[in-house]
Structure formats: C-alpha cells, structure tokens
C-alpha cells in the first residue's frame, strides 16, 4: 500500500496526464491554427474551433486541480517551485490568460468589427508558448538545479529552466500536444479531405515526437544526471521504453492504414507513458535532490481528507464529464 504522500503525488501526476490528454490537445489545436496554410484553411480553422469550444474550460481545470493538490499536499514544494521558476511560471500565466480570453472573444466574433483576426493570432501564439513552457518547467524540476530544502535555501538560482534539457522537454511537450490534436481532429470530421489533412499532420508530428524522445536520453546524462540514472537504470526502464516504442509504432501503422480510433488510443498511450515515465523517474522525489515526497508533505490528517475529497469528487465528476463528452463528442468518441 503506497503511503499517503505517494498517493497525493500520484494524484498530481494523474491530473497532469488528464490535462495533457485533454487540455494539451486543445493547445495543439491552437498550434495547427497557427500553421494553417494552403487550401481548406478556413474549414480546418472552423473544425478546430468547433472541436474545442464546448470542452476547453473543463479540460483547463485539470491544471488547477494539479496546482491545488500540489499546494495543499506539498506546500513547501509549491513555495520552492514558485520561487525558483518564477519567470517561466509567470509567462505560462500570461499564455493561459491570453489564450482563454482570445478564444472567448474570437468565438463570439469580435474580430469581424474591423476585419482583422488578431485575437486568432493571439490564441495561436499563446497556444505555442504555454505548452512549451509547461514542458520546460517539468524538465527543470528534473534537472537537479532547482535546489531547496525550504524557501530559505532557494538561492537566487532562478534560471535553472534555461538549459538544453528543460528546453528540449518543452519542445517535446509542444510537439506532443500538436500530435494529439491532429490525431483527435481526424475523428472530428466526416470530410475525407480534412481527414487526410490532419492525418498528414499527425504523421509529421509523430516523427517529431519520436525524434525528440530519442534525443532526450542523450541530453539527460549531462542536464539531469540523477533523473537520467533513474529513468534508464530502474527495473521498469526497459518495459516502459518498450511499451512506448510499441505505442509509437502502433500509431504510425494505424495512421498509415487509416485505423483512426486505434491511432488515437496509441497516441494517448504514448503521452501517458511519457508522463508516467517522468513521474516514476522523479520518484521518490518531487524535486531532486532536496524535496523527497515523504518528508515534504502536509500533515496526514490533511492528506487523508484531501484524498477522500478527491475520490468522492471523482465519483460525482467523472459521470458529469462523461455526459459532456457524450453530448458534444458523440461521433468522435462513441462512433455514432
């Protein structure tokens, strides 16, 4: 039986996975909006907006859940990360607020007034920067350069994120979002031409994701040595990487033969496995090397109550989320 702090840390990881699979794809939709040239551009744009519209607010809340569980269960860690990663976190916030507002303004056709679609541009730009920096933050947490046993010992080092390893994790996160979005979007339309458009994009993004996942293990020995040791030297390392490679292969093959629901399952597994691997390699630390999960947690009473609330909330919540997706994603998700 895992300890209370480990369970709480697991909840954070789980919300991050759900955020990546849902909100991440919404970011990816924005990326494709930015790279939207050539024929059918207008139709693609409409498809993306239509797919995101009813669900992005709900998808966005997973990141709030992750933050709230982090500061409730591990207040010290929240304080250290907020201090050491002040700059990228501030930029992420700017990205989140610009993107959300831009989407709302754009959906309600504000731009028609003067004929320019610059909120669309803001939306797309923020969709690029935000997931990139979220990945950078995850990478920075693994480098070992965010040191601090408590706030008093976070010494000036607020530039741990500006290193090749975190930046490459950022690139990886961004391309994963674009990849997920492209794969999901294929199933959002009946138009064979649009399907082909997004199939091509999905394959391109898959190549990029695969290249980056192959490159990162070469950067991590220098950039995140302890993390690298845990990632490559644990009993689960080989099965995990095997599963990941299998998912990538499965996705490539099913995209090639146009088995789209299978491609989607494979893509989602890939992203889940990437984050799970990150989480397992971080274990038993939240921030290497100073903040182990076990000793930086809040009181057991708090953790117990928090976990009960998360469980009870989940029981009420998942049916509601199911209803939301059932109403708006009937065809894409349930095939009719």
């Amino acid at each position: 039986m895992p300890t209370l702090p480990t369970l709480a840390a697991g909840c954070i990881l789980a919300s991050l996975v759900l955020y990546a699979l849902t909100g991440g794809a919404d970011f990816g939709g924005g990326v494709w909006g930015l790279l939207n040239h050539g024929p059918r551009a207008e139709a693609r744009k409409r498809l993306i907006d239509h797919a995101i519209g009813p669900v992005w607010e709900t998808n966005h809340i997973w990141v709030i859940v992750a933050v709230v569980v982090l500061f409730t269960a591990f207040p010290k860690v929240f304080a250290v990360l907020s201090t050491a990663l002040f700059v990228p976190l501030t930029l992420i916030l700017a990205g989140i607020i610009l993107r959300g507002s831009a989407f709302a303004f754009q959906t309600h056709r504000l731009h028609e007034e003067d004929g320019t679609d610059w909120w669309g541009g803001v939306f797309a730009g923020a969709s690029l920067v935000t997931p990139f920096l979220l990945g950078v933050v995850l990478g920075a947490v693994s480098t070992g350069a965010v040191r601090g046993e408590g706030l008093s010992s976070v010494a000036g080092g607020t530039d741990a994120w500006l290193a090749p390893f975190p930046l490459s994790v950022g690139g990886m996160t961004l391309s994963s979002c674009a990849y997920l979005a492209a794969v999901y979007l294929i199933l959002e339309t009946d138009d064979p031409e649009l399907k082909e458009d997004f199939r091509r994009r999905a394959l391109g993004a898959l190549v990029l994701v695969s290249l980056l996942s192959a490159a990162i293990p070469f950067l991590s020995p220098g950039g995140a040595p302890e993390f690298h040791r845990a990632l490559t030297g644990s009993w689960w390392s080989v099965p995990l990487m095997g599963a990941n490679a299998l998912a990538a292969l499965g996705s490539a093959v099913s995209l090639a033969v146009r088995a789209y629901p299978l491609a989607r399952a494979c893509a989602a597994s890939q992203v889940t496995l990437l984050l799970a691997g990150w989480g397992m390699a971080q274990h038993p630390y939240l921030v290497r090397p100073g903040l182990p999960i076990s000793s930086s947690a809040a009181s057991p009473e708090m953790l117990r109550l928090l976990l009960i609330i998360l469980a009870a909330g989940g029981v009420l919540l998942f049916p509601a989320i199911y209803l939301l997706f059932r109403v708006f994603k009937k065809k894409a998700l349930f095939g009719r």
Binding site: V63, I64, V67, P75, A79, T83, G100, S101, E301
Partner: protein, 446 residues
Amino acid sequence: MTELVLARAQMAMLFAFHILFAVAGIGMPVLMVIAEGAHLRTGKPVYAELARRWGRGTAVLFAVGAVSGTVLSFELGLLWPRFMEFAGGVIGLPFALEGFAFFTEAIFLGIYVYGWEKVSPRLHLAAGCLVALGGILSGVFVVSANAWMNSPAGFTLIAGRPANVSPLAVMANPAWKTETIHMTLAAFAASGFAVAGIHAFRLLREPRNGFHRVALGIALSVGGVAAVLQPISGDLSARFVARNQPVKLAAMEGQFPTQRGAPLRIGGLPDAAEETTRYALEIPRGLSLLAFHDADAEVVGLSAFPRDERPNPVPVHLAFQVMVACGIALAAVGAAGAILGWKRRERLFSRPFLCAVVACGPLGLLAVEAGWVVTELGRQPWVIHKVMRTSDAVTPVGGLALPFAFFTLIYLVLGVFAARLLRKELGASPFFPAGEGDSPTAPGEV
C-alpha cells in the same frame, strides 16, 4: 520594502480584476436560469431569447473569470511563497472543494451554452441550475479561505509552524458565516443591478421593447432582494469585526481614542499622524449602538494599538464609506422597485425610476471592490491575522515591477475588449412588443 508594495499592488490588481468576473459568474447563471424557467412554463419566446443571450454573456465572462482565477492560484505562490508554505497545508480543503465547484460550473456551462439543440429542455435547465450552484459554491469556498486569514483557527502554532491541523475547523472558522453570506449577497446585488442598469438604459431609448422590460424585471428582482438584505448582513459582519478584529473596525470608522458611547462618522478624513478624523459628520453614540447594539458600549480605538500593528485608516475608512453609501442606495432603489411594481408593473418603466436604476448599475460592483479594500487593507499589516505579517510572506524574487506592468497591460486590454464585446452584444438586441411576458401574472416575477 518597495518590492513588498509592488507585490501588494499586483495582488490587489489581480483580485480587483478577477472579482468582477467572479461576481458575474455567481449572479448571471441565476438570471439565465430564471429566464429559461419562465420560458418552460409560459412558452413565450422572449424568455428563451433572453436566456440564450444571458447564457452567451455568461460564457464570455466565465472564460475571463476562469483564466484570471487560474492566474490567482499560481500568483499565491509566486508573490507569497512563504504564506503558501505556511498556509497551503492548512487552507487546502476549501481550495480543493472549490476545484470541484469549478468543474461543475465549466462542464455544465459547456452543455448550457453549446447544447440548446442537443439536449432535452429539462436537462438543459438542470445544467443551468448546476452552473448556478457551482458558481455560488466556488464563491463560498474561496471566501471561507479568506475568512480564515481574518480569523485563523483549526491549528496550533509550534515553533512558528502550523501543527495539529484540523481541516474542518479551518474551514468553519469564526468569520466563515458572516463573510460568505455577505459575499454571496454582494454577488447577486452587484450582478443584478449591473444587468438591470443596462436594460434600463436601453428602455430609456426604446420604452416599448418587451425584451428589455422582461429582462429588467428579472434582474431587478434578483438584485433588489439581495440589496435589501445586504445591510442586515453587513451589520452582522461589522459586529463580528468589532469583536474579532477591533483594530479593523477602528480603521473602518476612523476611531482613534478608546471611548464609551463612540460616535458614528459619516464622511471625514482620518489623519494617522495627528490621531484624529476631521471633517466628519458625527452621530453621537451611533458607532457603539451599531457595533455592539448598546449606545454606551466601549469601542477600542486605533491609538490603543502599537503603530506597527495598525492598518492605514485612510483607504479603509473611505472604502467603507463608499460601500455603505452604495449599499444604502441599492437597498433604497430595490425597495422602491418592489413598492412601485407591486400593483402595476407598468410603473417600473417610468422614466425617473429607470434613470435611478441606470445610476445604480455600477454601484454594486463599486461596493464589491470597496468591500474588498476594507477587508484586505483593514487586515494589514497581517496577511494572516496575528499569525503572519504580509512583509514576511513576500517572495524573495526581485524585479516585481516588470510582472506588475505586464499583467496590468494585459488586463487593461482584456477589460477593454470584454466591455466592447458585451456592448456589441447589447447593441444588437432584439425587439419584442411590450406586453409580451410582462403582464402582472407572468412568471419570472418575485
């Protein structure tokens, strides 16, 4: 020191922005649900049109509220890491519950706004009700976290750290009830009057448009009821503050000496150096009477506290005056509306009354901002009353001027565009002949 001021200014700016949208997120769903309920009962298309439009407005405001709220939850750590290190594991419960309230709101607002043609009318109305419930609950949860900062409870301090945390006692802290009731009423009063003000403005131009008549009726009912109750709730809050944070009460009232039978001051400018409040209209023994319901009760003044434990009375006193003045105006107009509309609905649409409603439109929101200035600045220099000073909570990261300027700029642009969007939405308002839905027996009236 200047970094502290910058951090406080940034926090205040972020809250002042978020709270406007949060208020809309609490009040607007109730309005739209009432309109839709009226449509289901009467079948009149004017109500359906109104519910759709209010739903769209809610969606835009909700989106901005949601992202500005996300900013806040991160900024708690970015600006006040020491506060969060101390308090995160103590006040996590209301924040975690709030997360679920947000989920409820977001999920069902998605269904509501995009689902008119996709779900049954019953389910659609139920979704609207859940949005309203989620809005109210998220306000209640987050304000109980704030109430804990005013009246910390549910833990013991051991060597400067919280121990023996009892999360339920934290949430049910002494200030919990008065503050959440007051805030929830404030949200209804502010959004009800803001919406009523807009529709009254349109009615001055097109007096026969039934669409705006119906809208005014609903918004004014909700806002008016809340506004009439608000002074009662405010009195409870003030009496709680008098017992729990006497120094805040003294700052609110500009009361320097400790005094039996203290006067109530209307207006006036506190002078902290001279320890006196000038230019006020004084009602003898009024303060003792209001704060303790006893004209001879002793009121502790600011002078009884060490200088470094006093809030700055100037903004606190002025903001309190502004809030109470707005509260009295709203309650008066709300009551007048009830009396005028009692027998003949038509009298609500007389020009003088419409002008009064237009004038009250911004007052609720103004009172909300002023009320938060009272609460937050009145608590200074503490971030957690008598437990942690704001100056001990601030981040060690320097250069806070940059993020402050950055967010101010972003929020200015967003504010301007949100306002333009809403104006555009209203500019294209539909026409329904008067009489449709505003007969004395029509549902939707309270």
